[in-house]
């Protein structure tokens, strides 16, 4: 299985994501610098990692979303290739127009860094097939701008089409509308989420609930 991780100046979860991909897929992913204009041939999945791309200048993810490589990432997603955006990667995918809504400053204004309980809202996606719908998993969050906002029409569509993949359980760490932690694109092939499954992908990291997200991707590529 062939994966790529897009790397921007200021990405800092790219290597963690590469390890999670490697463990689940059995091969190290290609690390693709943002200035590239083409992706490696025959890719099965793309990861857009967390971090502080371009120092969060202008808006989180805004500059990265206009990087040269992003045209190829968008084309890959439009053809149905799975694209996973975590934290800053989620912000990048929203800014690139691959996912709807916006991610604003946390309602409490503080940077939130802790484990959160998440409800898996759908198992029907290449990212969540290995989870049970309705089960609770624990991933860490670490962000300042994860407050998901969308107009009421978009929100109703996301809910109606079962495109909320993960929802915060218990306390909402950032004020997200409907406690949304992660959403799917219309074709369910793009997932963006604020919590970090790659930081919970091995028991040595304090939890392994995130490993199934990567195993789901491995299964989706085989089937």
């Amino acid at each position: 299985m062939k994966a790529a991780v897009i790397v921007f100046p200021g990405s800092n979860c790219d290597r963690d994501l590469a390890v999670a991909f490697r463990d689940a897929f059995g091969a190290a992913p290609a690390m693709v610098w943002h200035k590239e204009t083409a992706l490696p041939e025959g890719l099965d999945v793309i990861g857009v990692p967390g971090g502080f791309s371009f120092g969060d200048y202008l808006r989180c993810g805004a500059i990265a979303a206009r990087s040269p490589i992003m045209d190829a990432v968008s084309a890959f997603a439009r053809k149905g290739g799975p694209v996973l955006g975590i934290c800053n990667g989620f912000q990048v995918l929203i800014e690139a127009g691959l996912l709807p809504g916006a991610l604003m400053r946390n309602a409490g204004l503080a940077f939130v860094c802790r484990d959160v309980a998440l409800k898996v809202e759908t198992a029907s996606s290449p990212f969540t097939a290995e989870y049970r719908e309705g089960e609770t998993v624990t991933f860490p969050v670490a962000h300042h701008d994860g407050n998901f906002v969308a107009d009421s029409e978009t929100l109703a569509r996301l809910e109606g089409e079962g495109r909320v993949a993960f929802r915060y359980q218990g306390s909402n760490p950032n004020g997200s509308m409907n406690a949304i932690a992660g959403i799917l694109s219309e074709n369910r092939r793009v997932l963006g989420l604020m919590p970090h499954p790659e930081r919970a992908a091995d028991p040595a990291l304090g939890g392994a609930d995130g490993a199934r997200l990567f195993r789901s991707l491995a299964g989706a590529a085989v089937s």
Partner: protein
């Protein structure tokens, strides 16, 4: 020409930072600040010499990058 661009949150979009500023102003004794909306201000020096073309270019820049039109509006002044 110079383009002066104000980017602000759309009405109705909650602005937790503006709200925190309003609280701080109140704590400093500035009474009667009923609302604060925080935004961004950008100044662009443009090679363009035609006013209309400069404004059209600046507006396109706002649509494409400088503002997130899901949550923000912008205002362009050309000098």
């Amino acid at each position: 020409m110079k383009a002066k661009i104000h980017v602000t949150l759309k009405p109705g979009v909650l602005d937790p930072q503006g709200e925190a500023v309003r609280h701080a102003l109140g704590a400093l004794g500035f009474a009667g600040v009923e609302a604060v909306r925080q935004g961004k201000y950008l100044e662009l020096d443009l090679a363009e010499t035609d006013r209309g073309a400069a404004e059209a270019a600046a507006r396109a820049m706002c649509e494409k990058l400088l503002a997130n039109t899901v949550i923000e509006t912008f205002r362009v002044e050309i000098e």
